[in-house]
């Protein structure tokens, strides 16, 4: 799980490095899956870059999901699972967000499918997405208090 020079040779990584060297904070390879850790402010431009460039063509966003690392800081993690149908390639982007301000720019304008994923993460983790068209509760009732998938939320429910 450490940075190795081989990962730098990955064509996608090389393309991003050439475009904006600061967009990748860390490279992780585990069980053959490549993860790019991206600083919060770079996510949206990087998303546009990965989707828009014809030789990368990550047009399909499979999934967006959150992880709560409570009590470790930065507490929250977002994982974006990208897929390029034309190149048969997949990639994971990871953004780490601090516990006191879990806010990030929405990727809905890049991949419209992120709409419901981001709503669900807002609903269950309480992370907020700036520029999301319709950020409402999704699975839980509108007047629900608390965010069930946070680690400081008990499995049995609120007391």
């Amino acid at each position: 799980m450490t940075e190795t020079p081989d990962l730098e040779k990955n064509p996608t990584v090389a393309r991003i490095r050439a475009w904006r060297p600061g967009a990748i904070a860390e490279l992780i390879s585990f069980r053959g899956e490549l993860t790019l850790v991206v600083p919060r402010e770079h996510l949206r431009p990087l998303a546009e870059f990965l989707r828009g460039e014809s030789d990368l063509a990550f047009t399909f966003l499979s999934d967006v999901t959150g992880v709560d690392r409570f009590p470790i800081e930065p507490r929250f993690e977002l994982n974006y699972h990208l897929l390029s149908i034309s190149r048969r390639d997949s990639l994971r982007l990871r953004v780490r967000l601090p516990g006191e301000s879990p806010v990030i720019e929405s990727v809905v304008p890049v991949w419209p499918t992120a709409n419901w994923h981001e709503r669900e993460i807002f609903d269950l983790f309480g992370m907020r997405f700036e520029g999301h068209p319709d950020l409402r509760r999704m699975l839980m009732p509108d007047d629900w208090e608390g965010f069930p998938l946070r680690k400081d939320y008990p499995v049995e429910g609120p007391r």
Binding site: R31, L61, S90, P112
Partner: protein, 398 residues
């Protein structure tokens, strides 16, 4: 409420509540339809009525215990759910499953696909007024469920795939039952097609209805037959083969029309392709051989071994009391479920319980496309569009 222009001047739209108790929503789905006469202006989908917190529950169970709650998500394809979870944990552990178990998994998940498509076809047809197809489909599905019952002891909540292989050796004579299915089902599929494919009412209700272009479908993250009906041949079995799918010879049916009729044709063709895979799997499965990986401490030892070997007894005790601890890390495993790309993301922190288990439910993502499909269409087309997406609310709400 918005003001729309009509032939007789400006008028207010009406909001119609559809569901959550409505036979055509295939479960407890609520759609708020904003209508201009009979035309849909906006469709706001409200979900969450079946939310049971499966992802949260998984964090409190060990890796083996979690298998039983995966069945309860997509209850029409429990074996696909078992498979994606087991494959994800095996990927996390770096565990190789014996070929025999892999082929049996392929055979059973393909039967699951047929069973799930039969429910879809039956309910979609009854929604649009073709009653008899429903009865035929459920008659055939019963044969498949009896095979699952024979193999796992359960018709629906199978939990038959385990981490590292299968739960049990399949019983003697199960192959004969599968052989009977392979033999009789093609003519059954012909029967359904006789009733529907050239039926003028069926064509009128589905052709040109629920249109979805390829670029819209990709942008909305639609996968499975709903995407292939729009001309994109993305099938996880071909793109990212798992469980030895690369050794099987089958076609991926694709249509370019992007309407309900195209998706109907795709799914029916897919059932025939699944039978082809089942037939090949029957030849490939060796009569004898291991069904579990040789991984002490992860896969439970055989009963006989426990009676003569001290270590086996200790492993058995440890697996069922404290579980096993995979290395820290994250994996994402995708498979082709009957509804599309079913994904399982597991984050491990090195403890015996999943730190985070996430299911990327294809129905959840596909349902997002509903708004696009029904905008500006008649209210009757909403029924056809919900049916054609083949949603399962258990999986959407988790």
């Amino acid at each position: 409420m918005t003001i729309v222009q009509t032939a007789t001047g400006p008028a207010k739209t009406m909001v119609l509540n559809m569901g959550p108790q409505h036979p055509s929503t295939h479960g407890v789905l609520r759609v708020l339809l904003e209508l201009d006469g009979e035309t849909v202006v906006k469709a706001d989908v409200d979900i969450g009525y079946l939310h049971t917190g499966i992802e949260k529950t998984a964090e409190a169970l060990t890796y083996s215990q979690t298998i039983t709650i995966t069945d309860r998500m997509d209850y029409l394809a429990p074996l696909s759910n078992n498979l994606v979870y087991c494959l994800a944990v095996e990927k996390l552990l770096g565990l190789e499953v014996p070929k025999r178990a892999q082929y049996i998994r392929v055979l059973l998940t393909e039967l699951t696909r047929i069973g799930s498509h039969l429910v879809w076809l039956g309910t979609h047809a009854i929604d649009l007024g073709a009653m008899s197809v429903f009865l035929y489909c459920f008659r055939e599905r019963e044969q498949l469920l009896s095979i699952f019952e024979m193999v796992s002891g359960q018709r629906m909540m199978t939990s038959y795939f385990r981490i590292g292989g299968l739960a049990l050796e399949p019983p003697a004579g199960w192959m004969d039952r599968v052989a009977k299915v392979v033999q009789t089902f093609p003519s059954r599929f012909d029967e359904y097609e006789d009733l529907l494919t050239k039926n003028r009412i069926w064509q009128a209700r589905t052709q040109g209805v629920g249109l979805l272009t390829a670029s819209d479908a990709i942008a909305m993250g639609v996968s499975g037959p709903s995407l292939r009906g729009s001309g994109v041949d993305y099938d996880v079995r071909k793109y990212f083969p798992y469980s030895s799918y690369d050794e099987f010879d089958f076609q991926v049916p694709v249509r370019t029309e992007g309407d309900c009729y195209a998706r109907y044709l795709c799914r029916v063709a897919e059932m025939r392709e699944s039978l082809k895979i089942v037939r090949q799997a029957m030849e490939k499965i060796p009569p004898e051989g291991p069904i579990k990986a040789d991984a002490p401490g992860i896969v439970a030892p055989q009963r006989e071994k426990m009676k003569i070997e001290m270590e086996a007894l200790i492993y058995h005790f440890k697996i069922y009391t404290e579980g096993f601890a995979p290395p820290p890390g994250e994996v994402y495993q995708r498979i082709e479920s009957p509804r599309g790309e079913l994904g399982c993301f597991i984050a491990s922190d090195g403890s015996p319980k999943p730190y985070r288990m996430r299911i990327r439910a294809p129905s959840f993502v596909n349902l997002q496309a509903l708004q696009k499909m029904v905008e500006g269409r008649l209210i009757a087309d909403v029924i056809a569009s919900i049916g054609t997406l083949d949603i399962v609310l258990g999986e959407i709400d988790r």
